[in-house]
């Protein structure tokens, strides 16, 4: 609809391939953590990321973060600097919903390449499980995501927006409710292999279908969790990274595409900017879908990783659900997806859902994942999306540098 003004996605200028690396990642306590504020959770994750990297707070000269819907902090970037005792030369807070963490990784890398910072702490966190009531969490999200003038008058919810995507997808490609349910089932199995996942009880396709209806065709178990959780990672130059750790995780590619904000303005409900975002990342990395060993995809609702698998080129259009049903997305399969349990089972708190996908990708590439380790994982793709598949950012990471 709005095609005439869509910006070119062609690469321009300096490539970020091989220029920067993540040298440490951290995750806060997750689930229900009432003794920690959102800032406290973020601080805990940041401290763990610094410890993981073997760095101290004096090494950090940049901070990037997202936003909070549970705590009354407008300028979260400087709020966090103050809280952590930082006085950086580079700082901001970005609000792109779930897409934010991957976008922040791109911004951190660009800041390092251009000399505006040498070591950037990227962190997000919110106490969505215990910091607010469940009703308040649901309604603050609906206010943040629905169009205030043309969607709110009709009682739309976030699950409702994604449910309309699922409904249209099922209509166009003829997939069944059972096939959709495979996504949370596979993801829950992965969560059970992670020591700190919020939800580990095994579930079946029947459990998903019998769970409480939220917004048809989506039921409770098709929806992400509401957790207390924070995550952090530290980015520095590729050169410096090799002095800090023998296992740096290099950023090879990053791409973005932003097509709309509100679902009422989406061009249609089966094609999204995931494709262009992925193409940008592949192009910068000089890689394609067949080069990826493990993927951490955004899974706020069961339909979303199905669409992402297709748009990112891992399977053909209409075959994302079969990809799950045939076991390809499971650990041991062709392309393990959301090996930590994703937002459906590991944790989700605002921007932290996507953040923990980056944390997990780094852990996989460093070989630190124990029984959920993907064997010989060398290259990982992370896709983050915000709004209603509105803002998209894809990053490609690897445990060695790649020549084009």
């Amino acid at each position: 609809m709005i095609g005439a003004l869509r910006p070119s996605v062609a690469d321009a200028g300096v490539s970020l391939r091989n220029r920067t690396a993540i040298v440490g990642v951290g995750e806060s306590d997750i689930g229900k953590v009432p003794q920690l504020s959102g800032l406290g959770l973020t601080a805990q994750a940041a401290k763990r990321a610094l410890d993981h990297a073997g760095l101290t707070v004096r090494d950090i000269d940049g901070l990037l973060t997202a936003y909070s819907l549970t705590e009354p902090f407008f300028m979260l970037g400087t709020v966090l600097c103050e809280y952590l005792g930082l006085r950086p030369r580079f700082c901001s807070s970005v609000v792109a919903g779930g897409a934010t963490p991957a976008i922040l990784l791109g911004h951190a890398a660009a800041a390092i390449v251009t000399g505006r910072a040498s070591c950037v702490l990227v962190c997000t966190g919110e106490n969505r499980a215990t910091g607010v009531s469940r009703d308040a969490a649901v309604s603050s999200l609906a206010s943040a995501v629905g169009h205030p003038y043309f969607e709110h008058p009709f009682g739309i919810s976030i699950p409702g927006c994604y449910a309309m995507i699922a409904q249209r997808y099922m209509h166009e490609y003829g997939i069944t409710r059972e096939q959709l349910a495979r996504v949370p089932v596979v993801t829950r199995k992965h969560a059970a292999l992670h020591p700190t996942s919020h939800m580990k009880t095994p579930i079946t396709v029947e459990d998903v279908i019998a769970s409480k209806p939220i917004a048809s065709p989506l039921n409770l178990l098709d929806c992400c969790l509401i957790s207390d959780a924070a995550g952090a990672f530290i980015v520095t130059s590729a050169e410096r990274a090799r002095d800090i750790t023998d296992r740096p995780v290099y950023l090879l590619g990053v791409g973005e595409c932003h097509t709309h904000e509100y679902i009422v303005c989406a061009e249609d409900l089966v094609h999204f900017g995931v494709r262009e975002s992925g193409e940008g990342a592949y192009r910068m990395a000089g890689l394609g879908p067949s080069d990826i060993d493990v993927a951490q995809l955004y899974d706020c609702f069961s339909i979303v990783p199905i669409l992402e698998l297709e748009e990112l080129g891992f399977c053909r259009t209409g075959e994302g659900a079969a990809f799950y049903a045939e076991g390809h997305a499971a650990i041991g399969g062709k392309l393990p997806v959301n090996t930590h349990g994703g937002m459906l089972s590991h944790a989700h708190a605002g921007a932290t859902g996507g953040m923990l996908g980056i944390v997990e990708a780094v852990a996989q590439l460093r070989g630190e994942c124990g029984e959920r380790q993907v064997r010989d994982a060398r290259t990982a793709l992370v896709h983050n999306e915000g709004g209603v598949l509105s803002s998209n950012c894809t990053v490609i990471l690897a445990n060695d540098m790649r020549q084009a």
């Binding site: 709005i2 003038y149 008058p153 739309i156 919810s157 976030i158 917004a215 009422v264 409900l269």
Partner: protein
């Protein structure tokens, strides 16, 4: 059923909601490239002309997709569950969101033909809603 609050609006959307009070459904028309668009804006999202006027929609459309909400996002909608939210593609082209209303609303399917009607909200305001057309 209890009446819901009046719709909120800004300078872009004020005319749309004033027209709805008179049972009119308006969409925006770009006088430069002649395309219709929705929601209303200060300029055309296709060609950036700021020569924009309003057109009356005939109010006929097709259900592009829908969901039955069982868990209301805000307290005021809780008494209405289960209710249908749909994306309607108007015969003129633009797409909008509304509820599907009527006794058979829960039977809604993708592709259903629907027709606009106007539901009273507080203080004399109305919102466009859609009802499945007789088959």
């Amino acid at each position: 059923m209890t009446q819901l609050p009046a719709p909120a609006f800004n300078a872009d959307s004020k005319r749309f909601w004033e027209a709805a009070r008179e049972n009119r459904l308006l969409v925006s028309h770009c006088d430069a490239c002649t395309r219709l668009f929705f929601p209303p804006r200060h300029l055309c999202p296709h060609c950036w002309s700021d020569k924009i006027s309003w057109r009356d929609s005939g109010g006929a459309g097709v259900v592009y997709s829908f969901t039955i909400i069982h868990r209301a996002p805000v307290a005021e909608f809780a008494p209405r569950v289960p209710y249908v939210v749909a994306l309607i593609t108007l015969a003129e082209g633009p797409r909008m969101m509304a509820n599907i209303v009527g006794e058979d609303a829960l039977e809604t399917r993708v592709g259903d033909a629907v027709k606009v009607e106007f539901e009273p909200r507080a203080d004399g305001w109305k919102v466009p809603q859609f009802r499945r057309s007789a088959r």
